[in-house]
Symmetry: C2
Subunit: 505 residues, 2 copies
């Protein structure tokens, strides 16, 4: 057994997981409706083979056999350690528990659809209780030091714990609530022109032109339409994105596109030499991905979407081109008005329609209450009450019903407990990285002149090319010189509110 | 070990092979150019896993273990026998030989591309000699009674031998040469209107409407565009086709579409209960397909394309709709003129552009000379001479150069030796099946009134639903009461030439 043998086996695993990603992409973008059942069987077969390859004796022997060979080679040692750790996590969850969760997921999903349609949380609660119970068993199987929620969090964000999450989110929450109040203290900006008629082909062409300017490489990518936009990759050489377009809502399509392009540039920017290695393979989740964590991935999508795409400089540069594309529809609009319109703050019930300032409070609310259920501080039956109470406290809104409240998200019905925090962790880390990047003057100048190559080059060098070879905490330390820190993000949002509320900018 | 275990393993194999088909479909229709190398690695990994599952000890034990259980159950016995036979064939070819062929294929393909571009057969000959030598080794590994070509033929057409093929093709050839002369004895029909401007979207809509009338189910299918049209399936529930459209050549797109729809209806018509079984799996070629052989498949594509789509009744029924679609372009054309235009006979060098009457002579020429190389009667260096000589003798044309002659097809460079005959076998069997179907008066009436459900129902009942559970020879016997027979096909072509040359129809 040699390191080459370990690498060959891991490449095979990565191939299977890339194929799983293709099966998922195809099912969501191309597959005829009749294919759904047999596609599920194909997915199950490939998943089982991947799991067998990962957790089998041959892989174990390959890792152990390669140990001696790599001493003194930190990269290869790291690869073996990471493989051993992640295979350990995956192996600790009994296959029966995974099957049980998969079966419950089907039941829970349709129970959720029904409950949401009928505004009937009580009918859904028993299934949701079973889902949380299974997640608790999975947490117990994986193991944790302090809280069962820690085991869940680490599935999506390696090394993250509730002990670190709680103060981070408390700090952010304390800053956001008054910021939102301040943003609402001035008259709402014009948004009337956003719902005029904008032919979709032209929206898409504009959005894609910008995404390519950012650095999304269409020779290794493609763009399709779906109801729920997403990014997915089959190695760095084939990284696909989708967006959703509405003729009567201009900004939806291209902000979604730039968000997904941010994810895609991360995958496309992985170093060629980590292709098909452990550093481009999420063994724990049996998922082919080069990004280091869900939060790290989100840091890049949000950075391009919000830090770049919603900035004042961006629209000063590009509003002209947008108005050339839609001269009649935007005849009475200025660049500043357009920038204000896509940064309008409006506290509301629905997460997926939330603006940048209120979005994190939706996340914090969910993170707090799912953690409470996992640690036993709250019961599933408490969720509607907790939801309504915090929605009032954080966003000042009375939830009119559970359909517009606790029933709005699909995540829990699929067993995703612990994934919500990664959206806000992404926002926080994204601002830290952006601040670090701006220390290079070429990057700041590029953002003012529309040359995004310096920023993308810096992100590639410091983040993208490393793939999963560097954990989120290690990356933060290496790139920003410190740990996770809300200050840069809060400063960015404060600056934005200052600009939005200032008499003149 | 039980029959259920055998079925579960075969289902897993079928899933992997369906996934391979999806990887191929995606590569040909959706994949960005940058994905080609890593896609090749993914294909290699899945292929190797499928081969391991098929030829491994566990499958062997499952088959042997299930023997006792199925005695007295002819279908299950058949399944085990077929699996054992096909796994035997696959296992006899050493893995090194398959790798050698795969490596040579890459080299041979680019040598062929170069040689064709430069009209330089001599430069290609050494690689082609090596390819034929490897195919000879594969034939020796598989084994054969009379001729090494028999082993090749059987890969594509189970039980077919050169001893059966030669007299069949001789009979057909003897009939075709004078038929073509007769067809050419009258003035060529009008074709001027075929190259007017026909917007592609409207062509596609017309073609697809007819394909759905034939019975192609778009809930379990989809249509894309490619340079080389093809059909591919991932179980009966997801059967996709492609076509190629040219604005200035009306019939190309929809005849290609109906040809592929014929293939697709075969796959969609397989009985639900054979899904993911040996009866929907070509173990020898590691290919997920329900059709019983390459020739059987071609019998269905040709039947719908030529027997139905190029018939006089068809255009009497549907020319009105086509003229409604293109009122200006077809203002000066009658249904009869249109029918004549898509049946024009024109002997030429290029197989893929050949009309129905001359097509089989292209195939017979190729079959004869590839068999001669395999049996040692001819050398690769003889091929250009043999080609030119037979092109003159069969089609009366002098080949101007090798690019338009022996270098025109990709097949040999990919190691496909023995596949050409299946095109003509398909034509022959298709006519036999069509004659048998027409004995039911509802089918004949349906063809005159545009109701294709009776024909499709008959084909489903007699052919499609059986998948690979019935060999080509068994199917012919069951459906037509006899063996392979050229008479029905020759009679059909004779009737067509009579109609095309008659003073009035």
């Amino acid at each position: 057994m040699s390191y080459a043998d370990f690498e060959a086996r891991m490449a095979q695993v990565n191939d299977l997981l890339s194929v799983l990603n293709l099966l998922a992409w195809d099912a969501r973008t191309q597959m005829p409706s009749g294919g759904v059942v047999t596609r599920g069987q194909q997915v199950a077969t490939i998943t089982a083979l991947a799991r067998d390859l990962v957790t089998g004796d041959a892989m174990q022997r390959a890792i152990e056999g390669a140990r001696a060979e790599v001493s003194g080679d930190p990269i290869r040692q790291r690869a073996l350690d990471q493989a051993a750790r992640d295979i350990g996590t995956l192996s600790r969850v009994p296959a029966e528990l995974i099957s049980e969760a998969a079966e419950l997921k089907t039941v829970a999903h349709s129970a959720w659809v029904d409950a949401r349609a009928k505004n009937d949380f009580a009918a859904y609660a028993p299934v949701l209780e079973r889902m949380f119970a299974i997640q608790h068993k999975i947490a117990d199987a994986i193991g944790y030091a302090d809280h069962p929620y820690d085991a869940m969090l680490a599935l999506y964000e390696p090394d993250m714990t509730l002990a670190q999450l709680e103060p981070t989110f408390d700090t952010l929450k304390a800053a956001l609530v008054p910021l939102i109040e301040r943003a609402l203290s001035v008259p709402a900006p014009r948004q009337d022109f956003l719902s005029r008629s904008y032919p979709i082909a032209a929206q898409k062409a504009f959005g894609l032109r910008i995404a390519e300017k950012f650095g999304y490489d269409m020779n290794r990518g493609r763009l399709d339409d779906t109801i729920h936009p997403f990014e997915i990759s089959f190695t760095r050489n084939d990284v696909r994105i989708t967006s959703r377009w509405r003729e009567n809502w201009l900004p939806g399509g291209f902000f979604a596109l730039w968000h997904e392009a941010g994810h895609a540039m991360y995958e496309q920017g992985a170093a060629p030499e980590i292709t098909r290695t452990i550093f481009a393979t999420d063994v724990v989740n049996l998922y082919a991905v080069a990004g280091a964590s869900f939060g790290m991935h989100e840091s890049q999508s949000r950075l391009w979407e919000n830090r770049v795409g919603r900035s004042c400089e961006f629209w000063e540069l590009h509003f002209g081109a947008l108005r050339d594309t839609f001269p009649e529809q935007l005849a009475d609009v200025t660049a500043e008005e357009f920038w204000r319109s896509v940064n309008a703050v409006r506290p509301d019930y629905i997460r997926v329609e939330a603006d940048e300032l209120t979005y994190d409070l939706h996340i914090i609310l969910r993170s707090e209450i799912e953690a409470a259920v996992m640690t036993g501080e709250a019961k599933v039956s408490d969720l509607p009450g907790l939801w309504a109470e915090r929605m009032k406290s954080y966003l000042g809104r009375d939830v009119p019903n559970d359909t517009l409240g606790v029933l709005q998200d699909v995540h829990w019905s699929h067993g995703y407990v612990g994934s919500f925090p990664t959206y806000t962790l992404g926002n926080i880390m994204g601002a830290q990285f952006f601040d670090a990047a701006l220390k290079e003057s070429a990057i700041a100048t590029g953002l003012e002149t529309g040359d995004y190559a310096p920023l993308r080059g810096w992100l590639t060098e410091n983040i993208y090319r490393h793939g999963r070879a560097s954990s989120p905490a290690e990356t933060l330390q290496r790139v920003t010189g410190g740990p996770l820190d809300t200050a840069p993000y809060i400063a960015r949002l404060t600056d934005k509110v200052d600009a939005l509320t200032g008499v003149s900018r």
